[in-house]
């Protein structure tokens, strides 16, 4: 079974600064996918970034980037130039690439990020 752990229940950052959210995971699979989702106060779940485990290059989407350490099973999210609209709950999630799991996502507990003006 997969597990995902986010050890930071809450974090805060000043507008325009950089913040890093931590995530560790455990899986017995050799190939898998990792994701970060954002959930603003509207409750909508929004995909922020995805990483394929067999790709060594860290994924980047505009101000969002990841630090993927496969051996350490770590997948942190870095948000650069933080904006007020980044205030949200952030979830880390993993998904096996094969087997009979039908693409099930396993989520961490979430980290509440507050961006202060």
């Amino acid at each position: 079974a997969q597990t995902v752990t986010q050890s930071q229940p809450e974090m805060s950052v000043q507008e325009a600064e950089t913040v890093t959210l931590s995530c560790t995971y455990d899986t017995s699979e050799s190939n898998y996918y990792l994701f970060w989702y954002k959930q603003p106060p509207s409750r909508q779940m929004i995909l922020v970034i995805r990483q394929e485990a067999y790709k060594q290059q860290n994924a980047t989407e505009n101000r969002f980037s990841v630090n993927f350490q496969k051996a350490a099973k770590s997948f942190s999210l870095k948000i650069s130039d933080s904006q007020l609209g980044d205030t949200a709950m952030y979830f880390c999630a993993s998904q096996n690439a094969g087997g009979t799991s039908y693409g099930k996502l396993t989520f961490g507990q979430g980290t509440i990020l507050t961006v202060h003006p």
Partner: protein, 111 residues
């Protein structure tokens, strides 16, 4: 997201009553999922479907049943609602590797 809708958005119900939540998609996705979101637990899988009339249990399926008679509709039923089922329920569609598209969620309160 326009391709997936959940109803109702909010519901208050009494302990012991049956409740059905509906998920409707227009994307023709084979796979559909029901999750519940609770503080400190993130999102946990209740049930999922891999085709019409093909469903299976997730990690927190006790007290829940599902049905999928059409590709576009996936229903979640609480047979006899309990206070422990007070939660936010999300439906999702999606295939492996690309993440899910989520509905806007249903906030269910059992009193």
């Amino acid at each position: 997201d326009a391709g997936i809708t959940q109803s109702p958005r909010h519901k208050v119900t009494e302990t012991g009553t049956p409740v059905t939540l509906r998920c409707h998609q227009t994307e023709n996705h084979r796979y559909m999922y029901w999750y519940r979101q609770d503080p400190g637990h993130g999102l946990r899988l209740i049930h999922y479907s891999y085709g019409v009339k093909d469903t299976d249990k997730g990690e927190v399926s006790d007290g829940y049943s599902v049905s999928r008679s059409k590709t576009e509709d996936f229903l979640l039923t609480l047979e006899s609602a309990t206070s422990s089922q007070t939660s936010v329920y999300f439906c999702a569609i999606g295939q492996r590797a690309y993440g899910y598209t989520f509905g806007s969620g249903t906030r269910l309160t059992v009193v």
